[in-house]
Each structure stands twice: as structure tokens, then as C-alpha cells.
Subunit: 387 residues, 2 copies
Amino acid sequence: MKHHVADRMRGISSFYVMELLQRAKELERQGRDIVHMEIGEPDFATPPLVLEAGNRFLSKGEVKYTAAAGLPELRSAVAEYYRTQYGVSLDPRRVFITPGASGAFLLAFAASLNPGERVLMADPCYPCNDNFVRLFDAGTHFVPVGADTAYQLNAELIRRHWRPGCKGALIASPSNPTGTLVCAADLQAAVAAVSALGGCFYSDEIYHGLVYGDPAASALQFSDQVFVINSFSKFFGMTGWRVGWLVVPEDFVDAVEKLAQNIFIATPTHSQYAALASFDPENMAELNRRRDEFAARRDFLYDSLLRLGFKIACKPHGAFYIYADCSAFCDDSFEFAKSLLETEGVAVTPGKDFGAHRANYHIRFAYTASIDRMAAALTRLERFICR
Amino acid sequence: MKHHVADRMRGISSFYVMELLQRAKELERQGRDIVHMEIGEPDFATPPLVLEAGNRFLSKGEVKYTAAAGLPELRSAVAEYYRTQYGVSLDPRRVFITPGASGAFLLAFAASLNPGERVLMADPCYPCNDNFVRLFDAGTHFVPVGADTAYQLNAELIRRHWRPGCKGALIASPSNPTGTLVCAADLQAAVAAVSALGGCFYSDEIYHGLVYGDPAASALQFSDQVFVINSFSKFFGMTGWRVGWLVVPEDFVDAVEKLAQNIFIATPTHSQYAALASFDPENMAELNRRRDEFAARRDFLYDSLLRLGFKIACKPHGAFYIYADCSAFCDDSFEFAKSLLETEGVAVTPGKDFGAHRANYHIRFAYTASIDRMAAALTRLERFICR
Ligand SMILES: Cc1ncc(COP(=O)(O)O)c(C=O)c1O
Ligand SMILES: Cc1ncc(COP(=O)(O)O)c(C=O)c1O
């Protein structure tokens, strides 16, 4: 019955890191100690105030569907967050609560992409992006990026790569896998460039808050015609709760509302009530302490990798990733990663999960492990590359 | 910027009942008492054991992403449920835990439908079905059904309506909005007919368990080449938790796994741990008590509606809906519903939310309110139709 699988599935790939993850688990079952530096998920537990809010809500037992667009009070709280964080005033009607940023991508692309249309994205980037676009039989036009543009698209690249059939451009700042940011002026110019071309601008801001220096700018500061994808997963530490949000241009409100009704019914209710506690000042203080811990880890890992001979062309200022050039040690980073896992029990993500451009010379290290654990990993890594 | 909205959105509609729901809320804010018989959601709270399991899991605070396909223990528990309930042996690898049946539909259709292909469905049926199909630029071939086939597709209708470009057929038994079942023999014949035509069979079994008579048969009893969509929302009473499942043919396991990784990352973790308690015998006993309460409501509502002059051509044996012919009172059931809400404060769902076939002569009553509340509604309804 192979012929039943839809054609789009041929283009949708799973992640190479899954193979490593599975092997890592096997090794752990055999009693091996594995340091996980492949995981794109904070190692912290759910923040205490959020957990309490979740428990308080559950104690009532009434876990019914919410409105498709989300709890009105959560939509308002998100809108208010844009006012305090970015000085942007935002009608809560434009805010949709979704099952993670993943749900936000689903809505944004379903509402805006026709089959055959293309979206410009940086290579390397978050691998699900391209697969979301393929879900709707649209495609990605990958733009190879390097350290000269901080591994990001910019206005000039967008104009140069724009072709008939292009529908928009996606920027994630800070980026997964590179942790690099687009500065406010460049983001503004990119938004303007896409607008001048008549396209949609998709801004993945899921790593906002996890920034080690000046805070990141939101695309909403420069236009109300953008799609902004965000989530309670990363900075807010709520991965498994599956709650995020999407901000849409006014003209998309009705379409996205219909879609949300049909494809989600609603986002998990208890997760939405828990997320409401995220904006409490006491919780924000806790999240900022965690951010400072990530900053310390970033410094530690960055210095250590450089010392070992990895090249990091662009110091990352956000997210929890370092995208390191390992060309001094190998010309196939996937083989490198597999061998590192087998011999030393350190799990990392191969570049080819994020694109094709010089992917074989890159490894993504996630600093979602403590400095102690990373120190152990780095000792092993040193032994591995000096073997 | 209207031109940005994707073409598929033109065909995706929101629900007429939303207008009624909004008006009902307005009236409630004004102090009016509204009886809600429009809501497709059990009025019971989350079952106590499930709630406890959820709370127990949350107390640890570690709400991380699970594997994309779901918790292995929950997949196994679902597989085991097929053994005990239906005598079907099922490899847990074929079970995917999803954000509700909604998530299951998303995976099943994304993995199997190409743009332009069509799926046969009964008219009337659950309105999201057609919109899910449209999401992937495929279409629905609606087959008008009536009391002669218990408002269901059968093998003969499937063969008669099959056209080039048809990719499969969808049956929901018990059905929303009619509450009617397909008997085991007819389901087997329908599965065989679709298989002979080389198509995919999609079986929406979300109302299994809520059956007032002989239990419903699962399509998995007749073939391992079917897609079975199910959920913890209805019988298990977990709507707002957003957890359900999809069973796929072996040949789809890899494709669906890739999709789940990309579009969901995972189903809410706390919801999956809570759902694990669903299969506990003590919980099943509680759910069966609730089912008996629904059966009593069904009898009460059925008898009352007939007494008032509604026609119910086919006594419903499942779900929590009665699809009543109101042609004795009106020829536009949407207007009837709006007027009933305004004058008497009773909310019901108009037939046209479920299709086009004689939709203007039908109303869906949900017995998701207590018998006392329904008695009040019926007094008002009687006054309304005798006015
Ligand atoms: C860049 C980026 N965008 C979106 C997501 C989706 O996250 P979630 O659906 O948990 O919000 C991720 C998760 O790793 C990510 O790295
Ligand atoms: C027939 C049918 N299928 C699927 C669903 C989706 O439910 P959920 O996503 O909550 O599991 C519903 C909800 O009303 C339904 O009536």
C-alpha cells in the first residue's frame, strides 16, 4: 500500500539527531553515562509560580475546551507584554494562543501559503520550517548565509534572492542553530524589503528573552503587517505544556480564527491557565536568573570550544546553542557526532539537520546542561579530537 | 493586504453555531438564563483518577517534551485497550498519541492526501472533516444520507459515489451530529469496499464508549490497513487536555512519525500522563456510570422531542446528540435556532453546520446538560413552537 503515502511526504525528512538520540538511549540503558548537548530544551523544571498556577487550575477539575483563539485573559496578557517589553501597542484580537510555536507556524503558513509558493529562509535554520511549508505543498528557497551576515537573512539578501513565486521571508532571531541575532536596524530593513516586494514577513521570536546583551527587537516594532511566532517553551521554560502564540496582521484575524477552530479546537486549557502566571514579576525575575545562568554557560562553552580548536565565526548572543565549525577535525560532522557518542558518550547535533550549506563542517552544541556536565563533556571531547 | 490570504481559506468556513454561542454569552452577561444544548462537550469534570494522575505528574515539575509519537507506556496502553475492548492485537508502533482527534486527523490526512484528491463523507457529518481535507488542498465528495442508511455511508453508497480522484472514505460511528451507528457487518463491508477500490479508510471512533446498546465495532477488527482516529475527549471526559490518538497502517508509521516530529514536536506531556490513568478499572467504572447517565438523558430527550412534534427518523444509539427534523415548525433551522435563543434562551446547533442535505430542516440537540436543565429547556421549547 506504499502508493497511499502522500507525495509531500517524500520531501519531509526526520532529523538526523533522532538516530543519535536513540543510540544515546540505548547506551544509557547499557549503563553508559551520556552528556546531552543535543537537546533544544531548557534543563530547568517548570518555574514554580507557573506550576502552582497549573495545579491551582487543575484542582477545580473543569478542564474544558477554551475559545479557539485562546483564553481572552491570556491573549490580553500577551498583548500587554508587547507594550511593556517592546513599547508596541497590540490589539489582543491579533494574538492567537497556539499549541507551541509549532501550532503558530501551522496557522501562519496554512493561512498564507498557496501550493507552489516559496518562502525565503536562511541556511542553516530550524529544520521544521521547511517541513511546515511542504505540508501545504509550498517550498523553501534557501539562502546560504555565513558569518558576514551573522548567519541571518538581511534586506539585501532578500532582494537579491527574491523570485517570482516567492511569498515571503522567515527570520528567526535569535537563531536556532547559530544563536545569532539580527540587530534592530537590520530587522527593520528586512521587514521593509519584504513589504516592498509585497510579501509576508514571518518572524520567529521563540528565543526572545534568552538574549545575553541588548534585548532582541520584535518585528512588530516596525510593522503591524507581520506574522510573529512565539512560545512559552524556551524563555518561559514550558516545553511539554505545549503553549505558544501567533500575532497576525489584522486582515488575517478571521482566517486564522476559522483555522484554529477547525484544526486545534483549542490549545490545552490547563497549560493556558498556567502560562498566565508567566508574566508575574516574581516569575519574570526567576526567568531572568535562569537567563543569567544560560549566559554563564554560553561564556564557558564558547571559550572552551575555541580553546579546543573549534572555530566560531560569530559569537552567539542568544538562544542556547553554539554552531561550531569542526573542519579542523573532520569533513563529515554527522560521522564525527556518531563517533563522539560511541567513544565518549557526548551527544551533539550534526550540521546537516539545519541545512546543506557547509553543514558537514558544523556541529550544534546546546548548553542545556549544567557547567559541571559540560566540563565533563569537554574533557571527553578533548580526548576524542586528540586521539 | 487581503491578497495574502491563501486561496484554501476561501473554502474553509467557521461554524454557524459560533454566532449563537457569542449571542448566548452576551445574553448571559445581561443576566439571562441560557440552557446550552449546542455544546459538543461532556458537562462532567475530568474523572477524579485522571485528575489525580495529572496532579501527581505535575508535582514533579518536569514537564518536558515527550517522544513525538507519544509516551511509550501510553501507546502500549492504547494498544492493550484494543485487545481487551475489541479483541484486536495491535503493535504499539502503529499508535500515535496526538493533540486530540483533531491532531489525529491532521496527521492522517497530511500523510495520505494529495492536492485535488477527494474523500467520501456522509452529509451530514462533523464539519471540521471537510476543512481538514481542504487544508491539504484536497476536497470532499459529500454523499447525502438519510434514515434509510442510519445517516451513514455504506459499501453500496461508497461504490456508487466513487469517482476517479477519490482517495478514500471517512465514517464516524457513532456519528456527530446524528448519534447513529454503523453495525459491525456494514462497517466490515464498507472497509472491504474501500479496500477493493484501492482507497484509504478513515474511521473516526471518537464516540466509542458512549454507546447505549451493543458496543460499536472498530474498523481495526476488519483490517490493519485503516486509519483509526480516536481521543480522550469524549468518553474519557478530557476535552481541554488535548490528547487523542491515531492508529495507522504499518506502511504509514515512518511518514506519520516524521510529521508528528515536525508539526507537533509532541502532545502535552502532563495530559499524556493523566490519560494513562484512563484505563484503570476504577476509572472505567466511573466512565461507564457517566455513560449510563447519558443513556438516561438520551431517552428523556428523545421521548420529549417526539412528543413536541419533532421527527427523529433514526433513534440514536451513541454520542450525545439528537438530530431532529424540525420541518413541522420551520423551513430555516438557523433562523429557528436564533429565534429560540432570543425568545427562550435555549441554544441549539443548526443543521447547516453539518452539511447541505436537508440541513435547513434539522437541529442538533446535545444532551450535555442535566435532565433538570433539559426539562427547563423543553418547557421553553414547547412554548416557543406553540407561540
Ligand atoms: C527556532 C524554533 N522555532 C520554533 C520551535 C518550536 O517550539 P515549540 O513548538 O515548543 O514552541 C523551536 C523548538 O525547538 C525552535 O527551535
Ligand atoms: C466526530 C468528531 N471527531 C473529532 C472531534 C475532535 O475532538 P478532539 O480533537 O477534542 O479529540 C470531534 C469533536 O467534537 C467530533 O465530534
